[in-house]
């Protein structure tokens, strides 16, 4: 009961703030709305019984990445989105985009109609269980390879951004 109330509350908050992200002309507002979206999604993860993923969602996305977004926006001091030159064939693109969104919506509706209502699947998503899976031989090499890739990207970014080290 309590879980259901919380779920609908934060699901509505997530969808509502996501709409603000794309509908808002002011980029700062969009960024803040995106933070609200990410935090709401994190609460839904927590309700599904996975506090570890919920917390990581906040640390990585709402915390680290969005701070950088906001930092750049503040540095450039963007107040309102500039009305840029419209691309050629704007009308056609609009129709295509609308059709794609409609397709996506139809697919979501089909999935929703097929799903039988029932309790959420229970699974062990504690930190210990997560680590056991992540560091098992099956995923260990992929995990380490990803870490090295991210490190390489980090070093590359520093080298590109700084003219002289």
């Amino acid at each position: 009961m309590m879980d259901a109330v919380l779920f609908y509350l934060f699901a509505a908050l997530a969808v509502g703030s996501a709409l603000v992200v794309i509908g808002q002309k002011n980029p700062m507002y969009s960024a803040f709305a995106l933070i609200v979206t990410l935090c709401s999604v994190s609460v839904i993860f927590a309700l599904l019984g996975s506090p570890f993923i919920a917390v990581l969602q906040v640390i990585v996305y709402a915390g680290a990445i969005m701070v950088l977004f906001l930092f750049v926006l503040m540095l450039l001091n963007v107040r309102r989105e500039e009305e840029g030159a419209r691309p050629q064939g704007g009308r056609v693109l609009q129709v295509v985009a609308l059709a794609l969104v409609a397709l996506l919506g139809a697919q979501a509706a089909v999935v929703l109609l097929q799903v039988e209502p029932g309790p959420a699947p229970s699974f062990d998503a504690s930190t210990r269980a997560m680590a056991a899976v992540l560091f098992s031989p099956r995923y260990l090499y992929v995990f380490e390879a990803t870490s090295i890739l991210i490190l390489a990207a980090l070093v590359g970014a520093v080298v590109l951004a700084k003219k002289e080290l």
Binding site: P51, L56, V58, I59, G63, V67, L70, T127
Partner: protein, 359 residues
């Protein structure tokens, strides 16, 4: 009258939340007075000593004054963001408070009322979650937005510069803060703060202060920077930026920002006590670590740390901005990372040793 177990839990939770928040808010007002008096003595002044005996009623007078002041909002400010900033600051500060254990578990005596509480073992901790430390890290990361919002919304040069400085500072030192916890987590084998305290029981050389000295140093420096106190108070930097991100704030909104800062300072001290100073363990195994005495050890350590923060403020000058960023990225983070390698090796060797011994 019988109370169902669910209702008992609910009542306990509500009482606990009220108790923790109430004590913290009380402590915040007391801390403002203690800080001003202590600083004054360190600088051969007297400090506020007129309101009540030794001036202890000064916080109440300040509160009344702030309450009745006019709330000014700059004409060009972004209204909603300007109003949201203090709310975000206090919310994130109070969220971090929720997962901290305050003192040892204790058993209630037989004479308490109501009857279902008799002989029950409790611990003052609002939420004991599996990922306690990570949750604090996440909430600290969100706390930055209060400063960013406040700095940007006021539409003033000083606020914006202060907001930008502090977002860069908090972001950089958050990394060092998180890395300094990793060694402690590895030694304890748990993210839960109560488990980490438990791993430091016995003699005082089991404390992480002794077992993990570099981690403690990195934590303490990064935590001071995270709560933006001298020598890391560049977000405010009154000689350069008037008052930084809260330049345009007045009245109760200013008080809320101030309150968030003090609550963060208390959180950081409580966390430091629990992670590095053995929590409620006295450090001498023949003394009891639970019950009233446990609270005494724990409270003494927290008060000592709070005093050290004030002491630092009375002693040190402020960092220069480039020095601050250089120190964070080029000293603290490498030291913390190297220490993680050392601890990981030690833990791995120790585990191997245990496995060989048990075979």
């Amino acid at each position: 009258m019988t109370v169902s177990p669910a209702a008992q839990e609910l009542i306990l939770a509500v009482v606990e939340v009220a108790l923790v928040v109430g004590v913290l808010l009380g402590l915040f007002s007391v801390m403002t007075w203690v800080e001003r008096r202590t600083l004054a003595f360190m600088q051969f002044r007297l400090g506020p000593n007129r309101t009540g005996p030794w001036g202890v009623l000064q916080p109440i007078a300040d509160g009344i004054k702030l309450f009745f002041k006019e709330e000014v909002m700059p004409a060009a400010a972004d209204r909603w963001a300007f109003l949201a900033a203090p709310v975000v600051a206090v919310t994130t500060a109070l969220l971090a408070v929720a997962v901290l254990p305050y003192g040892p578990p204790f058993t209630l005596p037989r004479w308490v009322w109501p009857g279902w509480l008799q002989g029950r073992t409790l611990q003052i901790q609002i939420a004991s979650i599996d990922v306690g430390l990570l949750f604090i890290f996440a909430v600290t990361a969100l706390g930055v937005y209060a400063v960013v919002l406040a700095g940007w919304a006021a539409n003033s040069k000083y606020s914006l510069l202060g907001g930008m400085r502090s977002s860069a500072q908090m972001f950089s030192y958050e990394l060092a803060l998180g890395l300094s916890w990793v060694g402690v987590i590895m030694v304890a084998g748990s993210f839960q703060i109560a488990d980490i305290v438990g791993s430091q029981a016995g003699w005082f050389w089991h404390w992480n202060l002794i077992r993990q000295p570099p981690a403690f140093l990195v934590y303490f420096i990064a935590a001071t920077a995270e709560v933006a106190r001298i020598p890391f108070d560049l977000p405010e930097g009154e000689t350069e930026l008037v008052a930084g991100f809260h330049t345009e704030y007045s009245s109760m909104r200013f008080a809320l920002l101030q309150m968030a800062e003090y609550i963060n300072m208390i959180t950081v001290s409580v966390l430091c006590t629990n992670l590095f100073l053995g929590g409620w363990n006295p450090g001498l195994p023949f003394l009891p670590a639970t019950g009233i005495l446990g609270f005494v050890w724990w409270g003494t350590k927290v008060s000592l740390l709070l005093f050290v923060f004030i002491w630092l403020r009375g002693t040190l000058p402020r960092f220069r901005y480039d020095q601050l960023m250089g120190f964070g990225w080029k000293v603290l983070i490498p030291v913390a990372t190297a220490w993680i390698l050392v601890t990981a090796t030690a833990v791995a060797v120790h585990v191997r040793h245990l496995q060989v011994a048990s075979r």
